[in-house]
């Protein structure tokens, strides 16, 4: 009955979805890439946001800072890459510590959805400011 091309997994194992989830390497490499990108991005941004908030008269300084295309692009990149990094990182933590299948699935959905929504909100807000809508 065992199909030779399906490798060493038994049919029941294949039906139950046991074995590798096959996304591990992608996940791992994604984390290395996002980490690398976030080093300059986060430093640039934290300095910029910092400077805009701490020095200068608040709203106007910050608004003008955000209107520069370079800063808007940096914020958008930071949110997209950073929230992707956050979601993957939290996913690993949840998979390590949550042992109930139902709770794990719920938490993973919640984390990924929240990170996606946060990224969307931040990117839309940045575009709104940059385009002067």
């Amino acid at each position: 009955m065992a199909d030779v091309t399906s490798g060493l997994r038994s049919p029941i194992g294949r039906a139950r979805g046991l074995g590798s989830a096959k996304h591990g390497t992608e996940h791992w490499w994604g984390m290395r890439l996002s980490s690398l990108a976030l080093i300059p991005l986060s430093l640039y941004l934290l300095y910029g946001v910092f400077a805009a908030v701490v020095f200068g008269n608040g709203y106007t300084t910050a608004y003008v800072w955000m209107q520069s295309p370079i800063n808007a692009a940096a914020v958008i990149l930071y949110l997209a890459i950073g929230l992707h990094h956050t979601a993957h990182g939290l996913q690993v933590v949840i998979e390590d510590y949550v042992h109930s299948e139902a709770k794990k699935i719920f938490l993973l959905l919640a984390v990924n959805a929240s990170c996606g929504l946060l990224a969307l909100a931040g990117i839309l807000a940045s575009l709104k400011i940059m385009l002067g809508a």
Binding site: R16, G17, L18, R32, S35, L36, I39, S42, L43, L45, L46, V49, V53, V54, F55, G58, Y59, A62, Y63, M66, V75, Y78, L79, G82, L83, T86, G89, L90, V93, H99, S100, E101, A102, C115, L118, A119, A121, G122, L124, A125, S126, K128, I129
Partner: protein
């Protein structure tokens, strides 16, 4: 061995765990590792704050003013201090991880020395930035 399907139907069997935290002495390897994980989770809060900052900026002067005054509350500033440390620690420890992935600093002596560098740089930058903020920019009037 129960399959995942069986485990979701009834509660998993509670089995005793052999003591580990009461037994093993904290070492630079284990402590820095868990600190990297904890700061990573904590920095989720920073991501949320950045989004809140951008969204309030897009919403106009009133909303932005409210967000800033919220961030000036003493509790918020203690949190920001903690987040500053979390940021620099996670950054430095993360770079250390990337260097390990590339094959550098893998000997036990390097692990210890780079570990000390990571902690030292994180603490010093956090203290340096906040000293400048508190002493020279008057960020925390409630502290003075």
């Amino acid at each position: 061995m129960t399959s995942p399907a069986d485990q979701s139907v009834k509660r998993p069997v509670e089995r005793p765990l052999s003591p580990h935290l009461q037994i093993y002495r904290p070492q630079i390897t284990s402590v820095l590792s868990i600190l990297h994980r904890m700061t990573g989770v904590g920095l989720t809060l920073l991501m949320m704050l950045i989004v809140a900052w951008v969204v309030s900026l897009a919403m106009g002067e009133a909303a932005y003013g409210e967000f800033i005054s919220l961030m000036q509350h003493p509790v918020a500033q203690v949190m920001l201090f903690g987040l500053t440390f979390a940021f620099f620690y996670h950054l430095c420890a993360g770079i250390r991880h990337l260097l390990w992935d590339a094959g550098y600093f893998l000997s036990i002596e390097s692990v210890k020395s780079t570990g000390n560098i990571v902690v030292g740089v994180s603490v010093l930058t956090t203290l340096g930035i906040w000293t400048k903020l508190v002493v020279y920019e008057g960020i925390c009037p409630w502290l003075m």
